[in-house]
Structures are given as structure tokens and as C-alpha cells.
Amino acid sequence: MGMKRARVFLGIVALAGLLLGGCGEKKEGTESAESGAKQALSGKIVVDGSSTVLPISEAMGEEFQNQHPEVTVAVGKSGTGGGFKKFANGEIDITGASRPIREDEDAACKQNGIEYIEIPIAYDALAVVVNPKNTWCDSLTVSELKKIWAPEARGKITNWSQVRPGFPNKPLQLFGAGTDSGTFDYFTAAIVGEEKASRPDYTASEDDNILVQGVASNEGALGYFGVAYYVENKDRLKAVAIDDENPNNGDGAFLPTEENVLNGTYQPLSRPLFLYVNVKALERPEVRAFVLFCIEKAPQLVREVGYIPLPDKVYQLARERVEKRITGSAFGAHGSQVGVRLEDLYKIEEQGAHGTQERK
């Protein structure tokens, strides 16, 4: 009896050993292949960061692995902030972000001697949505949104009639992004004027489907999240047009359509999404190839996963940043900035003496 049990145990150990074995041999192969850039690429590329950017990294990884079957692309989902923490620790090669890097995150990178290249990869729009039964609210101005979402509104702005004269006496129920997400950072910066400044008394969730559910089942609901979640739930939600009260960005209110994002009228809730690449990792041929692949394939793949491609000019500038190893953030590591056109931002940098180099 005892012998039998011991044999079963040994069997399990042996099985596990077999299953997990063979790691040593493969590893060696990887290292030797890395030395020759002309040979077939291999190795492991670790990507992490924003859950908004995840579908893009995933699509890139999938297509890249199809072309280079020896390369492993692994993508994690730690959120924009969590991704930057791991990035600054040197734990990952690339991190996705739904807002530009912040000063404290940039400082953490510097402290650990990590240099990065910032690559804008797509546009996303944040949609402000209400319940389809809401007949009164088709558009909102930024100042009305600010009145609703500012920290001072806590416990005070609780009824639609307080938002605009003429709106009915209906309770206002708010749904928004969880405080750890880049979406929260960007929305607060764009609407309230300060990153992370928001009233706390709303239903917050990192899972946008919960927010969709909340808005879809409450008549007085108002919520915000990435436009992809609105597009997939058009029958249950109604998008609100946004007026930034700045005639330079088009007069009146605009809906979150691709056209409005690209022509700059859906402001201030159009936001760029980024990949940040560790410069040291970029020396590895597979990472370099992957980054260039991302920039090259972005126009097609970004659209496939529900985002809006950037103008070609921006991708071209991004490629130059990679080739010339221009490090630092074009946003000066100040976090979310609103209403900037990427073409202008990256162009200025190209003409000037590489604006962000001074930060070194």
C-alpha cells in the first residue's frame, strides 16, 4: 500500500518534470539567435500597461508572432499607472498608456536609469453617455460637465434640473472610471482641469461593462468611458454631443465619431494612446522589429480593434523618434494635456532642438 502510494507520488513528480522540462535547451537557442540580427528573430517581448491599449498590443503581438514564430509576445494588463510602475522598475520592455507619462513616473524612470521613447499609436474618444429614455439631454458643454464632475459637486449636484435650466426634475446618477485608470486621469484633466480631481460620490468601476449596465438601466444616469463600449452597446445607450465652447475647434456640440476626432472638433475628449519603449530593450533586435512593426501596422490594426488611426504624418514622426532614439515625452512629462494636436506637438519637437532632450 505504502509502496503504491509512493509510486503514485513519484509518478506525479516525474510527470511534472516532463511537462516542465526542456526549458534549458530552448533558452540557449534564444540567446545565440539574439546575437545575429539578420537571423530569424526570437526571444520574449514583455508588454504591459493600460487596459485600453491592450487590444492594440494584442493585435500587434498576434500579427508579429505570425511573421516571427520564434518570438513570444506576452501582454499584461496592469493599467496605465501600474504599467508605468513596472516600466520604471525595468521589469517590462514596453508599456501601453492611455495618457502621457507624468512627472513622478518620469522621475522614477530616471532614478532607475531607464530611458524611454514615446510612441503615439492611436486616437481614442471618451464618450459621455446617457440612458436612451433620456429625451432632454442631447448635448452638454464642458462647463456643464465640470459642474457635474468637479469635487465641489459632491452631494450638491444630484438632479438634472441643476445642470441646465430647463432640464427636468430627475435624479442624476453618475457612472465613471475607477480612480486607478488612465481614463479617469484624462477625463478629470479634460473636464475639471486637474488630473484626478473628481467628485467621489459616483459609481466607479474599472470594468466598463458594469458602467454600461449602470447607464443602460437607470433613466437619470450619466456616464463616461471609451467610445468602443458605446459603439458595442448603441442600442442601450445614447451618446451626448460635447461642446467645448471654443469656436476654434468647431462651433457647437459634436458627437464622438471618427470624423470629429480626426478633424479636431470632438474636443476635449479625444485622447491619444501611447506605447512607451525602454531604450535599452530597443537594442534587442526583436523589440526593435516589433516597435517598427507596431508603427507600420497601426493604421490597419488600430481600426480593426475599434480605435482611430493617427494621421500618417504622426506615425512617420514616431518612426523617426525610434530611429533617432529621441527619448523623453513630447508632453514634457506633465501627464494628460488637452486639446493638443499630435502633428503640431511632434513637429515642433522635430524642428526645435529636440524639446525634451533638456530633461536628461
Binding site: 498576434e62 513596472k86 470594468d207
Partner: protein
């Protein structure tokens, strides 16, 4: 008291019977509600996910296209992780239980350890994730690997295994120990040949239930860095990994309804896995119990 008279006694009986009847109805209602909720959940999951279940679903891994995505890497990851976790946690856990029950003197020191083990069983799993991230992933530089995940999960289920194993050892009658010792066996021989075999069924049950807890965990694995997009099977202890619950968690948060169907199908697979484990626990317990009865 009135029920000392005959009529009083009858009234008392009647009242107690009424109470019993009421309790039965309430009890049945509670069970019914719980079962109904479970049934609704299961039906919803089965309806949503059943169509996605097919060979493809098991042969494909992560993809941006919902219909090309499957659970292969996640399922294999869960499987490896469970074996590794068991290999780490079971010897340590059962060993600790044997030491505490059979060898250690009962003093304030062992009582302190006992209290701490009981408390550890109640610590939220994400705390273990944070611990694992700092200790295994960073300090011991295991990276975001299978072995780091297994170590973290092993820590998580250790208190459960220790507690279950100790309960099992306690059910062994002392007369068996005395008998063995009286025949001249050493304490080790007593434990090895008398106590452990008798306690085995309940220890195994505890171990398997602890492992089924580990296999359903998401939070600590996300913290230590399980990946959500991975198409390569683990090749060794240091390989990156993903697991079924992590994959389900990712699919469920996607905007597209097709991914939600994948999540439902993934949940069915996970449920089947858990049921298999629990069935194994019951089978093993019965087998050992039968052997002992002979």
C-alpha cells in the same frame, strides 16, 4: 410551569411542533432560493457559452478576434500552476500539521503559531499577491513566471492545508497511537504507519479543496503579473503564464459581446475542472475509507 399538567404538556408539544414546522419551511425556502440563484446563473452561463465550446476553443489561444480565441494556453497554465502549487504546498503544509499535532509540545509558542495560521487563512488573497510580487517576483527575481505564481498560490493555500490536515490528524483516536507506541514503535513509526494512513482521507480532502480554491484565484495572479495575451505554452518554471480565471476576467471586460460568450464558455470549462477536482476528492476519500474498514 404550566406544561407539568397534562393539558400544558399537550400545548407545549403542539407549540414545539409548530415551531419545527415553521423552521422546516424557512429552511427549505433558504435552500430553494440559493439553488434557484445557482440555477439561474448556471443556465445563463450555459446558454451564453455552450455554443462556443468546441474543439477549436481548446486548441486556440489568445486572439483579438473572439472566434479565434481559445483557452489552450490558459488551461495548460492553470494545470501546470496547480501541480506546482501542490508540489510546494502539500509537503510543507502536511509536514507542519504533523509537527504541530504529533511532535510539538503544547505551550504559548505553538499556540501563537496556531493563532497566526488561523488568521492567515482569513487574509484576502490579493494581499498574498502583493507579498508574492515583492518577495518572489522582485526580491528573489523569479520574474513574472510560473514558479513565482506557484509559490504565491502555495502560500495562499498553506494555512488551509495545515488546518485541514490538523483536523484530520485530530480525528485519529489516541488508542491507536498508544497501541503502536506500546508495541515499541518510535513516534515517527507511529505517525508514519498508524496515524497518517488513518488521517489520509481527510487530509486529501483538505488538500484538494485548497487546490480548487487556488485554481479559481485571479487577483493575486494579476498582481504578480499573469499575462492576458499569451499564445505560447509554458516551457519551464520561468516561463510567462496565464490561467483560466485571468483569461475569463480579461474577456469579460471587453466591449464586444462575442468576447463575453468566450468568457461564459471559459467559465464552463473552469466549472468542469472544479467539479472534477471535487469529485476526485470524494473518490479518494471513499477509497481510503474503504481500505481502512477492512
Amino acid at each position: 410551569m404550566s406544561h407539568f399538567t397534562e393539558a400544558g404538556l399537550a400545548r407545549w408539544h403542539a407549540r414545539e411542533h409548530r415551531r419545527e414546522a415553521i423552521f422546516q419551511v424557512v429552511g427549505a425556502l433558504v435552500v430553494f432560493t440559493a439553488m434557484l440563484m445557482l440555477a439561474v446563473l448556471l443556465t445563463k452561463i450555459l446558454l451564453d457559452g455552450f455554443a462556443r465550446l468546441g474543439w477549436d476553443f481548446f486548441a486556440q489561444s489568445s486572439s483579438r478576434f473572439a472566434d479565434r480565441a481559445g483557452v489552450k494556453v490558459a488551461l495548460v497554465g492553470s494545470f501546470y500552476l496547480m501541480i506546482l502549487t501542490a508540489l510546494i504546498a502539500v509537503p510543507i503544509g502536511v509536514g507542519a500539521a504533523i509537527y504541530l499535532e504529533e511532535f510539538a509540545k503544547r505551550n504559548w509558542w505553538t499556540r501563537l503559531i496556531e493563532i497566526n495560521i488561523t488568521n492567515l487563512a482569513g487574509v484576502p488573497s490579493i494581499i498574498y499577491g502583493l507579498l508574492g510580487l515583492q518577495v518572489f517576483v522582485r526580491t528573489l527575481s523569479m520574474d513574472r513566471s510560473l514558479i513565482a505564481g506557484a509559490c504565491t498560490l502555495a502560500l495562499l493555500i498553506l494555512p488551509v492545508i495545515i488546518t485541514a490536515a490538523r483536523e484530520g490528524l485530530r480525528t485519529v483516536p489516541n488508542s491507536l497511537r498508544y497501541g503502536s507506541l506500546a508495541l515499541g514503535a518510535t513516534q515517527w513509526q507511529t505517525v508514519r504507519y498508524t496515524v497518517l494512513p488513518v488521517a489520509m482521507p481527510s487530509i486529501l480532502t483538505g488538500v484538494i479543496l485548497a487546490l480548487s480554491r487556488a485554481i479559481g484565484e485571479t487577483a493575486p495572479l494579476l498582481v504578480i503579473g499573469a499575462y492576458v495575451y499569451l499564445t505560447r505554452l509554458p516551457e519551464g518554471l520561468t516561463s510567462p503564464f496565464t490561467t483560466l480565471p485571468v483569461q475569463i476576467y480579461d474577456w469579460i471586460s471587453r466591449p464586444q459581446a462575442a468576447f463575453h460568450e468566450n468568457a461564459a464558455a471559459g467559465i464552463i470549462v473552469l466549472l468542469a475542472l472544479l467539479l472534477t477536482l471535487n469529485a476526485a476528492a470524494i473518490y479518494l476519500r471513499n477509497r481510503y475509507q474503504k481500505r481502512l474498514a477492512i
